[in-house]
Amino acid sequence: MNYSSAKPKKLFLNCIISAMKSIVPKGIFLTSLFLIISGTAFSNDCYTINGESLEDNTNTRPFVCFPHDEHNENAGLDDNCARCHHVYTDGQLMPDESSEDSSCSECHMSQEKPNDLDLIVRYHKLCRSCHLEEKKGPITCGECHKKP
């Protein structure tokens, strides 16, 4: 999964980061980015799933704030990263492999004509199918896409 650390209320940071990327030399940019991330990472445990590849356009719902560690603790997923960070090879699930080092979009937006919706749908299906199976966790739109 591909996330950046920022509170939904601090989403404007993403805009600032994009703007900085275009005007600030790479080294300075990465240093300041690290400082911002480490600053916010200690203050909250909420990862905004924007995948960097998703556009924050005026038609979509607010980005999802995903409390990664809290979620895994509640769901008892501590050692089972591959439950979400799965690996498929030739359409077959590789049970002993996990993919937390790569971003979701690397596989799920790699088609010839990538579309934001392809990736959005993957998130929806992954989260909701498990929540329905376990009868725990959010299932309706607004329970994840909380208004800032």
Binding site: T58, H131, G142, E143, K147
Partner: protein, 219 residues
């Protein structure tokens, strides 16, 4: 909550769509048979040119004398019908469901546009309700069913607005929103909501009779 969600997005959704599609086909077939049996002249008088001329006038705001006489009704009804049609099909939250379930997608409306259009539908329904109660000539023609239909149409938009803005209890309201949309789909073939499909034929026939036989305008 979970089992309700699974039911309204699963079996009940399929049932609603099937009743909507096959109910509409059945209604078309039975109306056609009824017209053949009781009023064969309808098919003799139908004329494409006069039909399209009449439909064109009635689809144009203030294109008929009746619309000029009732300007407030004209403005409300045009905004209402456009919003009623566009929002459910083009709001992002619905398109993403088509993508999830059938892997098809299309153009989506900006949130603010969908939000305003939803308010237009809700306010229009309030206007129609006021009109039914207050205007004697409308009240005279109103049955209980007309109020029920107004509720059926308004409910998906009220609950959709509630769910989108995340007012208290929005998770349960989202499920009621889904049910209310499904009830509307089921109601379309069997109520006067069916005019969404029959209006070109009723309007077209009146236009044909007035244009080709009576040699008069029907707008």
């Amino acid at each position: 909550m979970y089992s309700h969600y699974e039911f309204v997005t699963g079996p009940f959704a399929w049932m609603a769509f099937l009743i909507f599609i096959f109910g509409s086909i059945y209604r078309f077939y039975s109306l056609y048979k009824l017209a053949r049996k009781k009023d064969g002249a309808v098919f003799e008088y139908m004329d494409l040119k006069f039909a399209l001329r009449s439909i064109g006038h009635w689809l144009t705001p203030f294109g008929s004398r009746s619309m000029k006489l009732n300007p407030s009704m004209t403005v409300v009804t045009f905004l209402f019908h456009i919003s009623l049609f566009l929002v459910p099909i083009f709001v992002f939250g619905h398109v993403v469901l088509w993508k999830e379930n059938f892997d098809i997608s299309w153009f989506t409306l900006p949130n603010i546009v969908a939000d305003i259009m939803t308010l237009i539908v809700i306010c229009s329904c309030a206007f129609f309700l006021w009109r039914r109660i207050k205007l004697p000539e409308v009240r005279y023609l109103t049955t209980v069913g007309d109020y029920v239909i107004l509720l059926i149409v308004a409910a998906p938009f009220i609950t959709g607005f509630w769910a989108y803005h995340q007012f208290p209890g929005f998770a349960a309201i989202t499920i009621i929103h889904i049910i209310s949309g499904e009830i509307m789909l089921i109601a379309i073939p069997f109520t006067k909501l069916f005019h969404m499909f029959t209006f070109p034929f009723t309007r077209g026939y009146i236009g044909s009779e007035f244009g080709g036989i009576r040699m008069a305008k029907d707008w």
